[in-house]
Every structure is written in C-alpha cells, then in structure tokens.
C-alpha cells in the first residue's frame, strides 16, 4: 500500500499506477515499512509492506526558489535477429508442407527486407521541468510547486505527459492549534500501445511481420500482409493509425488539525480525499483486417471515476519522567470509496475521420457503480528508557465491507523491543570502536483485503441482454460467505552496529514472514457451471531470509568515497494448503495465450512458489530409424524428444511433467558507490539477481515455427532432412500435438538462467563554487549527467532479464519469471540542472 502524507492512494495494480500521478520532485522522503510491527498501524492494508511518501514542507525563513530540469534520450539496448525475406518464406512454406497443407503462394520474395524493429523503435526524449517555492514564517510555512513531465516511449506511438501542481501548507493558528494541508493535482495523457500478444501489439507485430513487405507502398498506402489473415498487421500502421488514449485527472488532498491540550495530550484529525477521473478512448480504423464486420471501424470509450475519502482521528498522550518516556495513542479511522465505470464499444462503417466514439452498431454498454469501506480502531503504547530499552505494543481492529458479515473484522496485534547495548557501561571501553549497537526484536500481524471484488463474498445475479427480446437474469458468481482476512505474521530479529564513529555501519536482519489464509482464485471444473470463485482462503506461505546492509565512508577529506552494499537471501515455502478430495496440490495452468504455452506452476506443501513445471527436453529425433516403433507413425524425424518419465510412449502432463526451473533468486542485492572531489560527484548504482530462472516465452512464440509469423534467426538452423542433427525441431504449421505433446508445450528448452548484474545508474554531477553562485545571486547551481541501464551482464538471451512477470493466470497468481514479449527497458541518458535562488 502506498500512502502519501497520510492519505492512502486508491487504484494501483495493473490498471493505473497511483505513483505515476505524483511528481517525484515534490517527494521529501520515501519510507518502506517492511517489518510487521512498524506496519501494524497500517494494519488493514499493510500486509505487503507500506510505502510512506512524505512530501516537502515549507520552512520558515527566506523563501527558497528552486528550478530543476532535465532532458534526456532513451534507446533500446538490444533487438532480436530475425529471418530475412527469403528465409521467412522458406520457413512458412516448409511448415505448411510438413503439416500437409498447401504452401502459401501469396508469399513472394521482394528483396525489401524491411527491419520492422528498426521501424518501430526510436530514440525517444524524456524531459522534466519543475519549479518550487518554499518558505514562511513562525506561524505559516508553505511549499508550492508546479511540474511538467514529458516522456516518449522507445516504441513509436507511446507518449506520457503529466502536469502537476502542489500546495503544502502548515499554519500554527493558536498556541494549541495547528492546521495544514497537503494538496496535489495532476493531469496526465497517455498515448498507449498494446502489449504482449493482446490486440495490436506494435512490438509483437514488428517481430512477426513479413520482411518482404515495405512500410509503405510506392503509392503511399500501407504495406499489408499478403496473407490477409488479420492475425498480423503492419506495426508502423498500428502505431500511427490506431488511437488509444488515456486521460487521467487526479486530486489528492488532505486537511489536518492538531490540538494540544492538558499539556501532554494531542488530538489530531485528518480528512483527505483521493479523487480520480480517468477516461480512455480507442479507435481502430476500418482497414484493419480483423475488424468485425470487416470494413467497419471499431471504437470504444470508457469513463471511470473514483472518490476515496478517509477520516482519521488520533489521541496521543506522551510523558517523560526522568529517563523514562511513555507514549500512548488511540485512534479510529474511516475510509470509503465510491466508483463508477461506464464503457461502450461498437463499430461503424461511416468514417475513419472521427476517432471518438461515433459507432452506428453499439454493443450493450457496461455501467457499474461500486463501493467499499473500512473502519478501524487502533491503539499503541510505547516506552523508552534513556534510549537504551525500547518497547512498543499495538493492536488494531479492522473491518472491511468486502467480507461477509461473519468475517468482517480482523484483529492485528504487534509487539517490539529494542536494546541499545552500546549504552551499557560495560561497552564504554569499546566506544571508540563500536559507537552504536542495538538489538531489535519484533512480532506483528497485518491484514490484507486487497484483490477481493467489492462484493466478492456475495453470490451475485446479473442482468443479461435478452432471450427472444425479453430480459434475462442469471447467477453470475458464487460467493464465499466464509472468506476471511488474509493475514501476515512476521517476526524480525535485527542487529545494528556502527563502528569508528559511524565510518562503517552494519545492519543485519533475520525474518520469518508467514502469510495465512492466502487469497486464491479457486478455479472450478466447468461441471459446476462456473469458472471460478473469485476468492477463497487457501493456506499459508512462509518467507524467511537474511538481509545485510553495509555502508562505509571509506575515504573522507577532499576526496570522499562512500559505499553501500546490501544483499538479501530469501527462502519461500508453502506450508499449508486446503485439501479437496484428499488432494492439496494446486496446479496453476499457464496464463492462456492462443497457441503459446508457458510453464505450469504448482502449489505443493513444502515446495516454493515460482516453480516451473514442464517436459524435460532431450533433443530432436534425427532420423526415422532412431524412433522406437512404439511411438507410432505420428512421431516424425524433427519432432522433439521429451523425457517419457513413465515409459508410456505418450507424453502427458500428469505423468511426464517435472520440475524444470524456478523463478525465485537465491540472492539479490545492490552496490552503490559515491565519489566526490571538490565540486564533482560521481554516483554509481548497481544491482543484481542471482540464481533465478526465466521461462523465455518470447522464444516460444518466435521459435515455434507454427504460424505465418517471422521467427528468430535461430530457426534457420531447424531440423530438416538436410540438417538432421539439429537440436531445433522441424517447422510445423498449426498444432503439432503428436504423441500427446507438441514441440512447443511447456518444456525445459525455453528455461534460461536469469541471473544478471546491471549498472543501473551512473551520475556525474558538478556543484558550482560558492563564489560563482554568489556572483550570480543563486543559492546553489548544479549540473549533472546521468546514464541509466548502461550495462547489463547476463547470459539471458531475451531483451531484458529484469522484471519478467506475466499477469495473473488461474488462481489470481502472477506467473513469476515469464518473459513474454516484454518491451525492454531503455538506456537513458540525461542532462540535468538544479538551480536554487
């Protein structure tokens, strides 16, 4: 959960990132609360950690004006090597013939050899401008800013623009009364292109499209697929002619009042809103082949708005008696969201000139009003003796409207203690070596109610279009009145040490975090009449691990060098699963994309998540004589050999699938070094991941040789009677499920080592000297040059080894470590300027 100045942000998830509407220049600090005791006060939504964003406040004194700007360019660092025009035709027609189909005689070699990736990727600009003024007096301080951000995507047709304004105000109205606000608005415009294989992905079509076709014909018309199947379209045409815009307007604001009374009491109340208005328009011109009916344009529009309000009231009591200091807090908070969605789509044969919704054939529109709410009570007590002994206990009760009335409330306690050993007299002898040493222990529980439909625990009936012209109502989902809060119980033990007057600091942490009553989308057999139950509580999962952070001021003086190093080891294990008919294993089929299969997942007690299951690839049959007769006549030379675990001479998922990889790394970490000399500073950030596998589903599409798509250059070395020793199977058009499994079913051929080391950022900055800036009447002046993602060291053959997670599949669980036509993250070079007046 993200929380900005106390206001929880709505939305999130895949649909729209709340953080995209915040101006990073306004952010003073971001705190990530990972241990459960710290997150406990955000209990209802703190299960997956809490991100606390604090924005800049005004400070009393003379007004400070600062102007920040950067401009940069972005490039993709790598593209794929594909077949050329003749190789493409040879492959497709060979595949056709191998599957007993006639070759496509529409395919002709033109010598064009269009490099579609070059046509769709570009050097894109990124620019950010921000001006802020902060200042005030004893009673009133303010921070005002205005920012503009404009980023083009590395694919043509992608653009994001955002305008932000902010007002932060703190007003000491009376000696006992403080008031203030944190308010921001934003307006953003996104020009989108489709991703994955969905709809009209520019990137996917650039990989697939026939290289014999020119971008444009001599007469100025778009080059089109001679096969006219509609499966593949000219990617440049898609980028330029298909309209897909999202406009989002957001207001996030809260007002607080704080009252001090009876000396030790403080009452604080905040009221905040997060209002989002989002509209989306899409238009596909009439000449796109797949439009139905053909020859008509299709358009859609949707409007969504959501208003979340929150009111939080806390009463705080704090008292110091000698070296003892006590604090106690009680509070209650209310939150409510109300949203409305209206979407409509249709098609028209009238014109391609109007790209807004002007359809003549309208599909039934979708109108949905929804709401949810939370009510929470919480209390906390903390005690501190001279900074040596620290103790805190808290409890929180949360109710969510999303659960059935029997399970609405969850209780989430936490307890934590700290002991500063370095404050003990017996440590004083070591003080010049160890200047700080603290042991921390905490235990806390937090809850989760995200990911449940607002009325997901109810059995629902929906109104359908009609039968014979009369209205229809049917049961659209089966509820789960037993649905409970998902909760996380975390134990953390930490040791923090600082040596030699904090020249070297070490933080170590061991944690066990178990998530209980896991939310899971229960896939149902169709015999129930339903596909799934949106959410059930399935079992528990445990993460445990060690995190180590070491930071050192290695050199001080004129030339300084500071270094931060962190490494994290995490182990993941499924501890408990609900049994169904004596079976607790849950097979998680890969997310479905037509004719592209990803790895199967498996939830099994004692195993980690992120496992890939599939066939073990052993090679390709070289010649007919090699194939044992038991395989029958359907297995041909050039077909793959998988391990036939049960020697049944047929491949089946249940008997022959085995563990072929795991998406979770053994360790991840980062290494940051900063050097400074006089006005110059150099900052280098690296991060890595080690020991994780990636299922390269891009290769499944691009090496499957089963459709009229262009393929990777590797397929030029495919099996053929002339190349019988190849390890790449033969081309086969359509489905080739001979002997129970096809050449491209989930198998170890597509599993690759996903370890990488990346130089994430290098920044070289220069702060102009005091003399110069004073002459210019400035308070500071800094120029910097920075490069992001300049180098990546990896054996992974895809475009990017990082962040390869596919959307949710069955069970609502994302397929970890699956690379599927993901647009690579770009290299970014920026030149920036900070000026303070």
């Amino acid at each position: 959960m993200a929380n900005i100045d106390g206001q929880p942000l709505g939305g999130g998830g895949q649909r729209f990132s709340a953080l995209a509407d915040i101006n990073p220049n306004d952010i003073e600090s971001i705190e990530i609360l990972k241990d459960a005791a710290a997150a406990a006060l955000y209990g209802s939504r703190g299960s997956n950690g809490v991100i606390l964003i604090t924005t800049k406040k005004g400070q009393s004194g003379e007004a400070r004006i600062s102007f920040d700007a950067y401009y940069g360019i972005q490039n993709v660092s790598k593209t794929f090597e594909l077949l050329d025009g003749q190789q493409y035709i040879d492959l497709v027609n060979e595949a056709r013939v191998n599957s007993g189909n006639a070759p496509f005689n529409q395919l002709t070699f033109t010598g064009e050899n269009t490099n579609w990736q070059e046509e769709v990727f570009r050097t894109a600009s990124i620019a950010n401008y921000n001006i802020s003024v902060s200042g005030g007096n004893e009673r009133l301080t303010s921070y005002i800013s205005l920012g503009y951000f404009d980023q083009s995507g590395t694919l043509i047709g992608q653009e994001f623009k955002r305008l932000n304004g902010r007002l932060n105000l703190d007003y000491k109205a009376k000696s006992w009364l403080k008031l203030g606000t944190s308010t921001t608005f934003s307006n953003s415009n996104t020009d989108r292109v489709d991703a994955d294989l969905s709809g009209y992905s520019v990137f996917a079509n650039a990989l697939f499209f026939n290289p014999n076709v020119p971008v444009k014909n001599p007469d100025g018309s778009w080059g089109r697929d001679p096969l006219q199947s509609g499966e593949i379209e000219n990617p440049v045409m898609i980028a330029e002619e298909l309209t897909h815009n999202i406009t989002s307007r957001r207001l996030i604001s809260n007002v607080y009042g704080e009252i001090q009374f009876l000396k030790n009491f403080k009452f604080r109340s905040t009221f905040g809103i997060d209002y989002l208005d989002r509209r989306e328009e899409r238009f596909i011109p009439s000449y796109f082949i797949k439009n139905n009916p053909r020859g008509s344009a299709s358009s859609s529009a949707s409007f969504f708005d959501e208003m979340i309000w929150q009111n939080e009231n806390t009463l705080y009591y704090g008292k110091d008696i000698g070296k003892h200091s006590f604090g106690a807090l009680v509070g209650l908070s209310y939150l409510e969201s109300e949203s409305s969605f209206f979407g409509i789509s249709g098609n028209t044969t009238a014109s391609d000139l109007i790209t807004t919704f002007a359809a003549s054939n309208i599909n039934p529109p979708n109108h949905n009003i929804s709401s949810w709410g939370l009510t929470s009570y919480f209390g906390r007590f903390n005690y501190n003796y001279d900074g040596k002994y620290l103790f805190e206990v808290s409890i929180r009760r949360d109710g969510s409207s999303r659960f059935g009335s029997n399970h609405r409330w969850g209780t989430f306690p936490s307890i934590s203690g700290g002991y500063r050993i370095s404050a003990e007299p017996f440590m004083s002898g070591l003080a010049n070596v160890i200047n700080d040493m603290k042991v921390r222990v905490s235990y806390g529980e937090t809850g989760n109610q995200d990911g449940i439909d607002n009325f997901g625990s109810l059995t629902q009936y929906s109104a359908g279009p009609s039968y014979n012209g009369l209205p229809v109502i049917f049961k659209s989902s089966v509820g789960n009145s037993d649905l409970r809060w998902e909760s996380t119980a975390a134990t953390n033990i930490g040791l923090d040490m600082a040596f030699w007057e904090s020249r070297l600091e070490l933080t170590t942490e061991y944690y066990i975090r178990s998530t209980n009553d896991l939310f899971y989308t229960l896939a149902l057999p169709a015999t129930t009449g339903f596909n799934q139950i949106n959410r059930v509580n399935l079992g528990s999962l445990e993460n445990s691990g060690v995190e180590l952070t070491l930071s050192g001021k290695i050199l001080t003086g004129d030339f300084t060098w500071t270094s931060d190093f962190n490494i994290a080891f995490n182990k993941n294990e499924i501890r408990d699963l609900v049994e169904t008919n004596g079976e607790s294993d849950r097979v998680i089929p890969p997310a479905g994309y037509s004719n592209v299969e990803g790895p199967y997942g498996l939830f099994r007690i004692g195993e980690p998540t992120g496992n890939f299951y599939g066939y073990k690839f052993l090679g390709v049959w070289d010649k007919a004589e090699d194939i044992p007769i038991e395989w029958g006549t359907r297995t041909k030379p050039g077909d793959v050999i998988y391990e036939d675990v049960n020697d049944s001479f047929t491949y089946g998922r249940i008997d022959d699938h085995q563990l072929i990889g795991n998406a979770l790394p053994i360790h991840t970490g980062g290494f940051t070094n900063t050097f400074a000399y006089k006005g110059f500073d150099l900052n280098i950030i690296m991060n890595w991941s080690y020991g994780n596998d990636i299922y390269n589903m891009t290769r499944v599409v691009m090496e499957s040789m089963s459709r009229e798509r262009n393929q990777f250059i590797s397929t030029a070395k495919r099996w053929s009677p002339d190349n019988p020793t190849s390890d790449i199977p033969r081309a086969f058009y359509g489905s080739s499920s001979t002997s129970g499994a096809s050449n491209n079913d989930a198998n170890s051929r597509f599993v690759e080592d996903g370890s990488f080391l990346r130089i994430r950022n290098i920044t070289l900055g220069y702060n102009f000297s005091k003399d110069l800036i004073q002459k210019l009447h400035l308070s500071n002046l800094r120029l910097y040059l920075s490069g992001q993602n300049l180098f990546t060291f990896t054996d992974y053959t895809g475009l990017d080894p990082e962040n390869q997670n596919l959307g949710a599949s069955t069970g609502g669980i994302p397929s970890l470590g699956v690379d599927f036509l993901t647009q690579p993250i770009p290299k970014v070079y920026t030149l920036g300027l900070n000026v303070g007046f």
Binding site: N313, R408, F474, D482, P525
Partner: protein, 483 residues
C-alpha cells in the same frame, strides 16, 4: 474553558464519521434480493435458454456435420481435426461445448432450487410448473448432448452454491445418465403446458419429442416402442403439421420462422436486442470454413432431377444449398465467396441474409432443435423395424410428397431402412442429425470410411473429455479410450 472548546471540536470530528462497512450493491443483484416473485422466475428461466445459445450457435451442428458425410472443412484447425477424427482434449470447441452445456445445466439447477420457494400470490402453480418443467427440459437436453458426445459424464442435478460443496464429481455410467435424462424429460413433459404455439420455449410436446429422440439414441431393447408412444402423442396432439412445399423454406428464414412444423427452436433474435447471433460458418464469405460435401450435393442433385422430371418445383435443395457467387469489389479483388471447393455453399438458417452481410456471426435466425419431419421419419423407421412396411412407406412418402418428390421405390425392409436413412440425410441436412443417426444405427464407421477420405475408429466417434476440466477435477479420469 479552552479544554471544553477543544473537546467539542474533537467530538464533532468523531461524530462526523459514520459506518463505512455497510455497502449496498447497485449494479448487481445479491442473492438475498432475487427469486422474490414471478418476474424473477421468468427472467431466470430465460437465462437458462440464453446460456444454450453459445452451444447451439457454435457446436450443435458444425463439428458434427464435419465428422459426418455432410460438410468439408475448408479451414480452421478445430474443425479440421474433427473431420479427420484427430480431435484432442485441448481443442477449444470441445471445451466450449462441455463448458456451455454444464453452464446451462447450472442455471437450470439454480431455477429448480429456488423457484419452488418463491412466495408470490400472483404466481400460480401452473405458471410455476411451466418454468420448472422448462428447467427440467433443458437439464435433460443438455445432458443428452453431453452423453452422446463424451460418453460417461457427471450428471449434475444440484445447484452449485458454495466452495465447501464437493465440486469434483466422477463420471456416471452411460446407463445412469440416460436414466436421469429420461426422468428429467418425463418431469418436464408432465409440468409443461400442451401449447403448440410455444416455439422458442419448450412445451409438453417438445419434451415428448425429445424423449423419443433420447430413446432412439439409447437404443435399448424396447426403446423403439417407448419412442413410438411419445411420437404418437405428439402426432395425435394435432398441434403441428408439415409445411406445404410452397412454404418449405420458411423453416429456415429468420423472418418467417416459428412455423407450424417446428416443435422447438432456439431464438437468436430479434437482432439488436439479442447479443448472441448464429455463428454461421457456412456463410459464403471470405471467412467461411465449411462447404457441403460432394456426396450430399450429388444426392440432392439426384433428387432434384426427379422433381424436375415430374414438372414440379424443387424446394428442398433450394432451401439447403445455394450457388456460390463470388463478389468482387471495385478494384476487382474478390471479397466474398472466394476460392470455394465446389460451386455450392450451405444456406440453411441464412436464407437470403448472406447477401446482406459480409461476415458470419451477424445472423439472427432461430436454430431448429426439433421439428415434425424428424419425428415422422423416426416413426417410419420404427414401423419398418416392426415389419410394418406399409406404415413406414406412408410416412416416408408424406415427407417426400411435401417436397414434390415421387414416392419411394423401396420394396423390402432393408431397402426401406436405407431409404429412410437417406431421407433423413437430405431432409434434415445440416441440422445436426446425420452423425447421431449413423451412430445409433451403428453405421458411422462404415459410412464415413466410404467417403474415402478419413477412417474413424469406433473409439474416436466420441470426443475426449476436455483436459482443462480434468486439470480441475482428476475424478474425471480415466480419459475416454483412444485419447
């Protein structure tokens, strides 16, 4: 004083807050609000018919005609695999058939579980029974189409209401499934009104007719007699009659359907109000995937010659097949009916409409599930098997005369059996009967083999259970033989 002021302010803040936990759904109906009155029950039963549309549109006729000697597949992997009897358990249409039929069964069970408890004074027992009867009818009908396609299937007679329920049923024996189907259809027959004007909703005669079809397909000893009783009841009801030759094509014309000959047809109209459309893969467009086989074209042509010889008007071939006319755009590119394998395409349920639309899935006819000609020919078949050759001949000739054909030339039981089979082949062409006829008479392997293209095995006449459901329910194992 100051403290008091502060406390008042604090109090105001706390009171201002209210209960945020009671949220009322606006855009959905919750369980507790539904099944309150007659119109709820009415909307719910229409929802059951609505859920049959997907199956009837996509899989009731098409894959079955591809398997039989009715249609050739031009393109489409699923249909191609059906035609060549290499269907796999991952084929989308196999899964859709399974899913769609069980979803309709689920809705029928929901009606059966909830409608009896509705307390509404205006909701008479008669009206309630009609709705319950329709739910029994569809539950039986859907299981029938499951058992003939998949063999052993779970018979689902309980509504699914909670994840705590056992949702992984095993497959019931074929005999059990049939017994349950028959029980459901008998209940339906008993509860539904004997009102022949009900066409797009089932009535008593639809249940009787379906019972006859079920008995014939089960084909146990004595089943023919049971079927005969049901057919006679329908025939004696006087509610239905064969359309005259002049109106024969009305059966399939969206603007003239719901004829006196139809006992039950599933509605896809009116266009604009119903989101579902008949996904006609036969329509003569660039996207068409199936064409009539030469065998059926030649059979139609032979009949047609007889009609023309007698100087009458040919109506049956004209209703079933249409000459293809390639259509070219201004620049001379063929845009419709390009590259056919032969000069005909299938015109049932599309009469004239194909000329107006360039795409399939835009048509809103009714699809005939049961019509009188089917029952008359079944009766002829039964009589012939009971050695009542004269009775069989009368009925067969009734069907032939109505389409201006001369009387049958069959003179003995074997000839008559073949003549009736052939009559059904043409009269009911492309309506989803041929394949099941061949299966129940145990002639499928032989007849399909004789096409000379594909050789099915007895095992492959059934579809495999979809793998997707086995993944969610291992109790469905073992898979059908041969898969």
């Amino acid at each position: 004083m100051k403290s008091l002021k502060i406390l008042i302010i604090a109090g105001v803040f706390s009171i201002a807050a209210c209960d945020t936990l009671e949220q009322l759904p606006v855009s959905i109906i919750s369980e507790s609000n539904f099944y309150q009155n007659e119109s709820d029950a009415e909307a719910a039963i229409l929802g059951v018919y609505d859920r049959l549309q997907g199956f009837i549109s996509n899989n009731f006729i098409i894959p079955i005609s591809a398997r039989a000697d009715e249609t050739d597949v031009i393109r489409g992997g699923n249909w191609t695999r059906d035609e060549s009897f290499s269907t796999t358990s991952n084929d989308g249409h196999v899964r859709n058939t399974w899913d769609d039929l069980y979803a309709a069964i689920g809705r029928a069970n929901d009606v059966l579980a909830n409608v009896p408890g509705i307390l509404d004074d205006n909701f008479t027992d008669e009206e309630k029974n009609k709705i319950l009867g329709e739910a029994y009818f569809i539950r039986g009908f859907a299981h029938f189409h499951l058992v003939i396609r998949f063999g052993k299937v779970p018979y689902i007679s309980e509504a699914f209401i909670s994840p705590n329920q056992d949702y992984q049923p095993a497959r019931d024996d074929i005999a059990t499934v049939y017994a349950n189907i028959i029980e459901d259809l008998k209940m339906a027959k008993q509860l539904m009104p004997a009102d022949p004007s009900l066409k797009v909703r089932a009535n008593k005669w639809a249940a009787a007719g379906m019972l006859a079809k079920v008995y014939m397909q089960r084909n146990n000893t004595g089943d023919r007699d049971l079927a005969l009783t049901e057919i006679n009841e329908v025939l004696n009801s006087q509610g239905y009659s064969l359309l005259p030759s002049s109106n024969y094509s009305d059966l399939f014309r969206p603007d003239r359907q719901k004829t006196v000959e139809t006992i039950f047809e599933l509605s896809y109209g009116p266009a604009g109000l119903d989101d579902a459309a008949f996904d006609n893969e036969f329509v003569s467009t660039q996207n068409f995937r199936l064409q009539p086989e030469m065998k059926i074209i030649n059979a139609f042509k032979a009949d047609s010659a007889l009609v023309v010889e007698s100087g009458k008007e040919e109506v049956r071939m004209a209703a079933a097949l249409e000459f293809y006319y390639p259509i070219f755009n201004e620049s001379g590119t063929c845009i419709l009916a390009c590259n056919p394998r032969n000069e005909y395409f299938i015109d049932k349920f599309t009469k004239d409409d194909w000329k107006k639309t360039s795409e399939r899935a835009q048509l809103h006819p009714s699809v005939i599930i049961l019509r009188l000609a089917d029952l008359i020919l079944l009766k002829a078949e039964i009589l012939n098997e009971k050695d009542d050759l004269a009775g069989a001949r009368t009925l067969l000739n009734e069907i032939r005369e109505r389409v201006n054909l001369p009387e049958t030339t069959a003179t003995n039981k074997d000839e008559m059996r073949l003549a009736i089979e052939n009559e059904r082949y043409l009269e009911l062409a492309f309506e989803g009967h041929r394949y099941w006829d061949l299966i129940r008479t145990n002639r499928a392997v032989e007849v399909i083999k004789n096409k000379g293209q594909f050789v099915p095995t007895q095992e492959k006449l059934l579809w495999p259970v979809p793998q997707a459901d086995i993944d969610q329910n291992p109790n469905l194992l073992p898979q059908n033989q041969g898969y």
